[in-house]
Symmetry: C2
Subunit: 552 residues, 2 copies
């Protein structure tokens, strides 16, 4: 019988942005027990039309879900919890989260109308999960209650950092628990599995308290309405903005569904100070311009978010006037540039002044720059490093950087790489199936699904639908009908071009040798070819063609 091993397996988040799903296994290869850390989504873009959200494909672990002991959530960002409501019922194991994270997961479960076995654990909690002993360690990040998980096993310890930075002065919540990290380092950390997001950035990411001071200065200077766009999940930032507003004698009005939802969750678990109050959008309209601050979602230019609606002058209660100021206390997430610039241009056209992190130090990242990584490695003193949470260029750089920081070896895995952590030196020992699932309407469709592939083709060149009525003797039994979807106006106005296509199809079918006229495949090929010849000539494109032969 093979001997016990401790293994690590990322199914999401390694070699890509978002949708973290990390597995640890313990036992002999034939009978491992597993825990999962985080279960996130990534947001789709226009390269996958009709898809909102992408999740990791948990197929590998679903095949042995009786050996999955639990799912442990580090914090409440979508790329760590976003797939829990979708995949949790399939994983069918207990799920653990600290109070604020649990609150947000509960809201998702309610919305999806599903139930899972959710357990709320305290910050700093210690849990036993089969062969794994887990300890939540408090860190700092851009959301309340960020946790590393210190994993102890008989074969060695692992520090799974989750997402983190070292904020010496967070605006909300305790600072990084350096004492626990150092103690764990003393105890002996065999491997660190660590956030790679900002490894390309030197220095430190900066403190929320500096951001709060700068926001306070900036807001104090404004004479008219102030709008601040930020990430709703950054409750510390929300608090900073509320304090800055208070200092400038401005009431705060929250705008945006996720802003309301997250602030409510924070209040429910007593994270926000009780003296923080808000005014309703309807009432805010009655306040003098210099006494109101709107705190809103939509910093990424999301078309349905509050700020975009205001920029389109499409909000029931709120309008922007000449001299109002819109502060983007946020970063530009790669891929969102055009949406953000379009939003800012629309705001400028309404007469607003725009202030972004380019103009003032009003945003900090929640991930560790190089100096913070160095500090973490000094606390934990890991023997080996496994960079996760990043694209290839981040993981490879982190692997090098870890060696500069003194680890014996580092392996930067891609989703599906099975790494033996212990015993012995870390080593990639296998590759298992990993992939993505695309949420298409209500359906979780597999990677390479026909529907998405067809929609991309439809987006490029549309579709033609050809109905051909044939009688039993292989003669046309009526007029051919052609409908073209997604083509620009061609030739002599609407309809006329479709008539020409129908004529071409009739001719092509009529030209078939008599023996082929009862052969649907032959009719399909002839009709498709005739139609595409004409569209290529007049349009320069070849639409998808569906031929329906009706035998009458």
């Amino acid at each position: 019988m093979s001997k016990d091993e401790l293994v690590f397996l990322p199914l999401g988040g390694s070699g890509e942005i978002g949708m973290n799903m990390n597995l640890y296994g313990y036992g002999p290869a034939s009978a491992r027990k597993w825990i999962m850390i985080d279960c996130g989504v990534t947001f789709a873009d226009l390269t996958t039309p009709g898809i909102d959200v992408i999740t990791p494909d948990p197929g590998y672990i679903l095949d042995m879900k009786e050996d999955l002991i639990g799912l442990f959530l580090t914090h409440a960002h979508e790329d760590h919890i976003g797939a829990v409501a979708r995949l949790g019922p399939l994983l069918d194991c207990p799920v653990y989260a600290t109070p604020f994270t649990a609150k947000l997961v509960e809201a998702k479960l309610e919305e999806a109308d599903v139930a899972i076995d959710l357990h709320v654990v305290d910050m700093g909690a210690r849990l036993k999960a089969g062969p794994f002993h887990l300890e939540y360690v408090t860190l700092t990040h851009s959301i309340p209650e960020p946790n590393a998980i210190a994993i102890r096993t008989a074969l060695g310890n692992v520090l799974h950092t989750g997402d983190w930075k070292i904020d010496p002065e967070p605006s909300l919540g305790p600072p990084t628990d350096a004492a626990r990290l150092s103690a764990f380092g003393e105890e002996g950390v065999h491997a660190i599995v660590c956030d790679s997001t900002n490894v390309l950035s030197p220095g430190v990411s900066g403190s929320e308290m500096r951001v709060q001071e700068n926001l306070a200065d900036l807001i104090a200077q404004q004479k008219k309405r102030v709008f601040v766009a930020t990430f709703a999940s950054n409750v510390g930032r929300v608090l900073s903005i509320c304090r800055a507003a208070g200092a400038a004698d401005r009431s705060v009005c929250l705008l945006g569904r996720s802003m309301l939802r997250i602030v409510a969750a924070a209040q429910a678990v007593d994270i926000l100070p009780s003296d923080i109050e808000f005014v309703e959008p309807r009432d805010a309209g009655y306040l003098p311009k210099e006494h109101i601050l709107y705190l809103c979602t939509g910093s990424q230019g999301e078309p349905r978010a509050a700020l975009s609606r205001i920029a389109r002058d499409d909000h029931p209660d709120i309008a922007i006037d000449e001299g109002d100021t819109v502060i983007f206390s946020s970063k530009v997430i790669p891929g969102n540039e055009r949406d953000i610039y379009n939003l800012q241009n629309a705001l400028v056209d309404l007469g607003a002044e725009i202030v972004t992190e380019r103009d003032a130090f009003i945003h900090v990242s929640g991930h560790p720059n190089q100096d913070e990584l160095r500090q973490m490695y000094e606390w934990a003193r890991p023997r080996y490093a496994i960079p996760v949470h990043g694209e290839a260029r981040h993981l490879e750089r982190h692997a090098e950087f870890a060696k500069e920081l003194g680890v014996e070896a580092s392996i930067s895995p891609r989703n599906g790489d099975l790494i033996r952590i212990a015993p012995g030196a870390i080593e990639a020992i296998d590759e298992v199936p990993a992939g993505r699932l695309y949420l298409d309407g209500k359906i979780l469709a597999p990677q390479g699904d026909k529907g998405l592939r067809e929609r991309k083709k439809l987006g490029w060149a549309g579709a033609a639908f050809v109905s051909i009525p044939m009688d039993a003797r292989g003669r046309l039994a009526g007029d051919v009908d052609v409908r073209l979807l997604g083509a620009p106006q061609l030739d002599a106005g609407d309809g006329a071009f479709e008539d020409r296509l129908a004529e071409a199809v009739e001719e092509a079918v009529g030209d078939l040798p008599p023996g082929k006229r009862k052969d649907e495949a032959a009719i399909d090929i002839a009709a498709t070819r005739a139609l595409r010849n004409l569209t290529t000539e007049h349009w320069g494109k070849r639409p998808m063609v569906v031929v329906s032969v009706l035998w009458t």
Copy 2:
């Protein structure tokens, strides 16, 4: 009769990126003579699926093209000449360009197989065009032969800058002709119509010669293959890279169609020194790794460009190995981030080292930062400023900045704003139709075209085609056929769900009151509703539905 006026009218490039099209008119409102400066495109993104290129809609000027005296091109970037081959034949006026620009326009005309009346003019040329006296003034930019156009009229002078920077040490071509600019300033400049691209950036944009030195240092350090990605049109950069390669004893191999095309054009007009030589890709493969440098297109992650093909290991002659270096001597154009990062990740996965402008000073912008704008305003001493070539946030900032630089007033127009430049103070006097044309296959489709709108819907939720054979008495004359395109696999496997949809349609048609069964519109509505009810229930989406009733 109304008196003479000098007016400015941007039909493209003001309030957006790319596709510059600027008109100047002279005469009474009822009988103006016009000149056009530049005629560019902008590249489409996935928000307009199936569209490659977007041009300004020249409809306004086409309606009076007998009064359009000429089209004058400032330089050869696509956003200034890209629409000439498409729109030139419609505009039907002489076109003027300096030798290098003309060479590239000729290539486009040849490719499109169209002819226009193209005139090659010298750098510094003076031309008369009806009431306009034009002088080409040599500037510096990121392409050979960039020109401002000094426009003299009886009502006053205008400096139309085109795209420019102030490069004290260009790697190719003469420096900015400060003497002509100052002289024009002395003569009196009523208005400047000026590039706004970099107005948000303080300081200066930097010199190509510094870039050349840094590239030389960087390339000299490499031990294996070196790839440098840059914009092909930046012939000065191409020359810098060739010199750096020569100093490091590396032969240069050009990769990419536009690289070959533009270098050939530069050689044809004697812009590149005659000692610059290149090796063919096939021969390059035989050279030792330390003696080759590949100069390639694809810095923006364009999937069909040379570098992306190499990253996919899909190039007939060239592969990347561990330790090779890929230098991005280029910027990240907003909107291209994801494509570029995906490319860089793929290169990292092949073992390449990536160097970008983030790591070293190996790229400079071709547009003026604030200090360069200040210098230009000092030379030209314009009375009024008309910021163009930028999005709203750039134009508005430039309008303010121009006032800080001492102009009496500034107006930042949007496409279609007609500005009276003289006599008197500048003033927006009218708005004329302006818009975009989308190149859809071979068709230039108008904004809001049905084809594109339908393709977006198809991309989101696909389409269902329903064929219903009916007899003359309003009874089903055969089986209903339903084809669903762009849906994920639903229910019990391929085809089965389409059968269920067909049954639902049959039932819905059968349920119609007898009087409605010969009414195509009623059949269409009933069939569509029945089909969408089922797709909503099982898929959560409502595809486009086309119903074809065949009467037999």
